[in-house]
């Protein structure tokens, strides 16, 4: 074969390789989108029996009794919402403060090291958090914190009633630790995209370091931080194992944070293996379906916020 033809063949092969690779990637990305839709569809199909039998009362009723085949998921919706809100209200200010401190105050080397450690919190398995919750956090709450809360602040409904250590408060606390890495690392990425010129603009006007952070950093990353917080919320809503281990698993709505509660994820984890009747199974799948839809919407919103921020 002549040199010329050899080269021509080589070129065609490269083109062919590109073509194959491009189709492969296309198939993969469409496949993933399809997978999402399929998961949604199968959840819906599995939940259909429960949806058609209970309708809206499934989310409005608050009695959950598998034996009588009465399924009202209001207590677990409430438990998911409240435990996640506790987590977010603790983790959000803390994470943003850590991100500010590590990005703007300490020398870059120390910032990187500590930042890495904070992000490693996300690598701890959920069940390990749960064990820590059972053996350290819950006893500590029961013996040290909750007696004080009940005694001095017991007149506020959220701290009233008996306490057990495990319960809504323990779940919220453990969730807050678990979502810190998410909120922290996204906030820090956003702070990193802010040009040095913005910081110098504030400093050159006579801003102190804190004033500089308020004007140049926080001022221009509000929606991004909002997105980071919502993403953390999304994680908190779906977190299962650790919460199941410390929340006490009682499907009742109680105003008190000291009382045991249950979340959507924890009721599925607790009952799925023992669900014998078809309708019980379908009810659990409906809860899974609801959780899927809610976290999907929340994550989509958060990504939109963050995308808008990092673009500009």
């Amino acid at each position: 074969m002549s040199n010329f033809r050899l080269r021509k063949r080589a070129r065609r092969e490269i083109h062919l390789g590109d073509l194959v690779f491009s189709y492969f990637l296309r198939a993969l990305s469409f496949g993933l989108a399809l997978l999402l839709a399929v998961i949604g569809f199968f959840l819906f199909r599995g939940a259909f029996a429960s949806i058609s039998r209970y309708g809206w009362s499934f989310v409005t009723e608050s009695v959950w009794d598998p034996v009588q085949e009465v399924f009202g998921s209001a207590p677990v919706l409430y438990g998911t919402l409240v435990s996640s809100l506790i987590a977010v209200s603790i983790a959000a200010p803390l994470s943003v403060a850590i991100a500010l401190f590590l990005n703007e105050v300490v020398p870059p080397k120390i910032g990187k090291t500590i930042g890495f450690l904070v992000e490693m919190l996300a690598a701890i398995p959920s069940v390990v958090y749960g064990l820590w919750g059972i053996f350290v956090l819950a006893p500590w709450l029961r013996t040290r914190i909750e007696p004080i809360l009940a005694q001095d602040l017991g007149w506020i409904p959220i701290f009233s009633g008996p306490y057990y250590g495990v319960g809504m408060l323990a779940a919220g606390l453990i969730l807050s630790i678990m979502i810190i890495p998410t909120v922290f690392s996204i906030s820090r990425e956003i702070f990193k995209t802010i040009p040095t010129a913005q910081r110098e603009a504030a400093l050159a006007l006579g801003a102190t370091r804190w004033e500089m952070m308020k004007i140049s950093i926080l001022g221009s990353s509000k929606s991004g931080i909002g997105g980071a917080i919502i993403l953390g919320l999304g994680r908190a809503l779906g977190e299962t194992m650790a919460v199941t281990m410390v929340i006490g698993n009682r499907a009742e709505i109680s105003a008190s944070l000291l009382a045991p509660a249950q979340t959507m994820a924890s009721v599925i984890a607790n009952e799925y293996a023992e669900a014998t009747s078809d309708i019980h199974l379908s009810a659990l799948i409906e809860i899974g379906f609801l959780l899927f839809v809610v976290t999907f919407i929340i994550n989509a919103f958060a990504r939109l916020f963050i995308l808008r921020e990092t673009k500009s």
Partner: protein, 254 residues
């Protein structure tokens, strides 16, 4: 230099880590003059000017020592708060850096708010004055609430000048303020500088020698961190004393 100086730099050394970028520079500037600092890239002129409001030290690993007398204060003395110095020494940067989250109005008063001025009537008056001084008032007076970053590049740079002027600094540092702008905006800002010198002493770093020749009273030529020549602009450009200066301004190196 016989008349009293507003700014006097004595033996200033500055750099990053173990690298010295400014190697013992001394120079002074009189009230209401424009001092141009010229020199090839990397000669230390930006680092030098950033030492004059103690912004240089905000970069991690940066060091600076020597004396910089601003009127009667050595700004590098131990008990001096850099924040208070930066309120007297304004700065305009290479690229316009208006705060994107703030309106035109809020951008101009940002420094005043930091200094604790709250009365809206005062702020309003200063916004108008500063924007007039920065030759921007007529272009923006009807849209003070629009975001600062909605303006064109040249307008944003004048907005930054207005922002720096609003706190009534005694010295205004300009670090290549027109290098990111088109010729028309550049001409506007040069014109503006000749007006501004009536109120404030200007130190400007520039890559553009014609600009230095047009607008400055005295010129300092830096090379590799050393101050090679410093004198009246007309003298430096027409009869440079040093061979290196002549080679640079005639374009033979740098």
């Amino acid at each position: 230099m016989s008349t009293k100086s507003i700014l006097e730099v004595k033996n200033l050394h500055a750099g990053f880590g173990s690298t010295e970028v400014v190697k013992g520079v001394s120079l002074s500037a009189q009230y209401h003059t424009v001092t141009a600092i010229i020199g090839p890239s990397g000669c230390g002129k930006s680092t030098f000017i950033r030492c004059l409001n103690r912004l240089h030290e905000e970069t991690s690993g940066a060091f600076a020592n020597g004396q910089v007398w601003l009127e009667n204060t050595d700004i590098y003395a131990k008990n001096v708060d850099p924040v208070s110095i930066r309120r007297k020494v304004g700065m305009v940067f290479q690229k316009p850096n208006a705060f994107p989250s703030m309106s035109i109005f809020d951008n101009v008063v940002a420094g005043l708010r930091l200094a604790g001025v709250k009365r809206h009537s005062i702020l309003k008056e200063i916004v108008e004055q500063s924007l007039i001084s920065a030759a921007l008032w007529h272009e923006v007076k009807d849209k003070l609430n629009a975001p600062g970053t909605s303006l064109s590049g040249g307008q944003q740079q004048r907005l930054c000048i207005a922002r720096a002027l609003a706190v009534e600094p005694t010295v205004l540092l300009m670090d290549e303020p027109t290098s990111a702008l088109d010729p028309i905006s550049t001409a506007k800002i040069e014109e503006l500088m000749t007006e501004l010198r009536k109120k404030v002493t200007i130190i400007i770093v520039t890559h553009n020698m014609q600009q230095a020749a047009r607008i400055s009273d005295q010129t300092a030529f830096f090379l590799s961190g050393d101050l090679i020549e410093f004198g009246e602009t007309s003298q430096v450009f027409t009869a440079p004393k040093m061979d290196q200066t002549e080679r640079y301004i005639t374009g033979r190196f740098g």
